[in-house]
């Protein structure tokens, strides 16, 4: 069962709650005795905590996030990676599993190639990445789909329920980057497009509850129609 919470669309400056009983959460600020929205999105209140779930905005990198990025450049010390955020990221040589030949950087990750990586650190100088874990590394083949990073929680779903449904329904491997880039790999392009279609369906409807049921229906309809 999905949690039933009352959600309403709010705009910046809108008063969400008054009085000392409420606590300002993400996307809000307390001004005097009022809690106001500082972002456009959906307001939510649970246990006197008021917050705004944004539906847009550029990805904010966080330590520990799994992301998908594109190799932009190769330097003497590693790879410059575009992770579709305000700032570029860097994957240093020493964050590659195994021995690295300094003359063979191109063979590991070439320009234009996509990689799955983890954010090691976000600091004043930039964003550092690593691929030293299982499941990280180069993307050899498959589709890359881009969604707004604010939609990622919906695509993953409660305890990964939605992403399991997409994998099952399409028969594809699906890796979701927190930055909104998603890697789909299947046996046939058709399967990959099916997964892509489901993801698009979810992003368009990302604020309705009971979404899992709708996605199940969607898969049924799509598969029925294609045969």
């Amino acid at each position: 069962m999905e949690e039933k919470t009352k959600r309403t669309v709010v705009i910046p400056g809108e008063v969400l709650a008054k009085g000392e009983d409420y606590l300002p959460g993400e996307g809000t600020e307390k001004i005097g005795k009022e809690i106001i929205a500082i972002k456009y999105g959906l307001s939510e209140e649970a246990n006197k905590l008021v917050k705004v779930i944004p539906l847009s905005g550029v990805y904010q990198p966080r330590k520990g996030n799994i992301i998908i990025g594109k190799v932009e450049n190769i330097t003497f010390y590693g790879w410059a990676i575009d992770i579709d955020s305000a700032e570029g990221a860097f994957l240093p040589l020493q964050e590659i599993p195994g021995y690295v030949d300094k003359d063979g950087l191109r063979e590991i990750f070439d320009i234009g190639e996509m990689v799955v990586a983890k954010i090691l650190d976000v600091n004043g100088r930039g964003i550092d990445l690593t691929t030293k874990s299982r499941g990280l590394g180069r993307i050899d083949e498959g589709l890359i789909v881009k969604v707004n990073s604010s939609k990622v929680p919906r695509i993953i779903g409660k305890e990964g329920s939605m992403i399991s449904l997409i994998k099952e329904g399409s028969g594809c491997e699906v890796t979701v980057g927190q930055n909104g880039l998603i890697w789909i790999k299947g046996d046939k392009v058709e399967d990959e497009l099916l997964a892509k279609g489901a993801i698009n369906f979810i992003t368009e409807k990302s604020f309705s509850s009971g979404l899992t049921g709708e996605v199940e229906e969607w898969f049924k309809k799509e598969k029925g129609g294609n045969k």
Partner: protein, 235 residues
């Protein structure tokens, strides 16, 4: 004030032309919006926040808002040559100043938020329509803001104060002629932009501010509706 004053298009003195607003008009952008006052149509698109280039323009203390106001060549009767002018450069800066007080972009050090504003069709008050569209586009892009700003021009035609000046009124020549006063305010009635061209007394200007307070509230309602209606919440 003369009660029988007739505006060229027959509007009441405090009537704003029909307003339209819509967000999401440029799918590519991080946020976008259209805003119109009658025949004046502005569209705005936001890209960012992103790293500021060139590097020497980076501000290590806070994020930078960069507005770029531009009139389409065929938005006016006399074709405008493409490219920036002194006028558009000034309006771009004025627009930044009108928006900055509500933006909470301190944490976006060394970054820039680009706002591109294009006037598709001009019938005066283009900077006001541009600011209204830009405010919507910034909210739509998920930029943190403590409020929305709303802009409208107040005019004085001869001795009569009017709200939302159109081109015929801007060119008013009878009596004391035309005075144009574009004003931008937050929904909590703080002034973020005011300009004036013409001739007017201090007492009249105080009335102008009262009119602007009322009129920007009407603009705000249109902006609010556009943002709220672009999202359909299914329960």
């Amino acid at each position: 004030m003369a009660k029988d004053f007739k505006r060229p298009d027959g509007r009441g003195v405090e009537d704003i032309r029909p307003m339209k607003a819509e967000v999401g008009v440029v799918p590519n952008a991080d946020g976008s919006a259209m805003f119109s006052f009658g025949n004046t149509i502005a569209i705005a698109a936001v890209y960012g926040p992103k790293k500021m280039h060139p590097q020497h323009q980076q501000d290590p203390k806070k994020g930078t808002l960069r507005c770029n106001y531009n009139m389409i060549s065929f938005s006016v009767t006399d074709r405008i040559r493409p490219g920036p002018s002194r006028r558009s450069t000034e309006i771009s800066k004025i627009t930044e100043w009108a928006l900055e007080p509500v933006l909470m972009i301190k944490n976006y050090q060394n970054m820039v938020i680009d706002v591109h504003i294009n006037i598709i069709q001009a019938d005066a008050s283009t900077r006001c329509a541009g600011i209204n569209a830009a405010a919507l586009a910034l909210a739509h892009a998920g930029i943190p803001m403590r409020d929305i700003v709303s802009s409208v021009s107040i005019g004085k035609l001869d001795k009569q104060l009017v709200v939302d000046v159109d081109k015929d009124e801007e060119d008013w020549e009878e009596g004391e002629g035309a005075t144009d006063i574009p004003i931008t305010m937050t929904s909590s009635e703080r002034l973020t932009h005011i300009q004036l061209d013409g001739k007017i007394s201090n007492d009249e200007l105080k009335q102008v501010l009262e009119l602007a307070k009322k009129a920007t509230k009407k603009v705000y309602e249109v902006q609010k509706k556009a943002l709220k209606e672009s999202l359909e919440v299914k329960e």
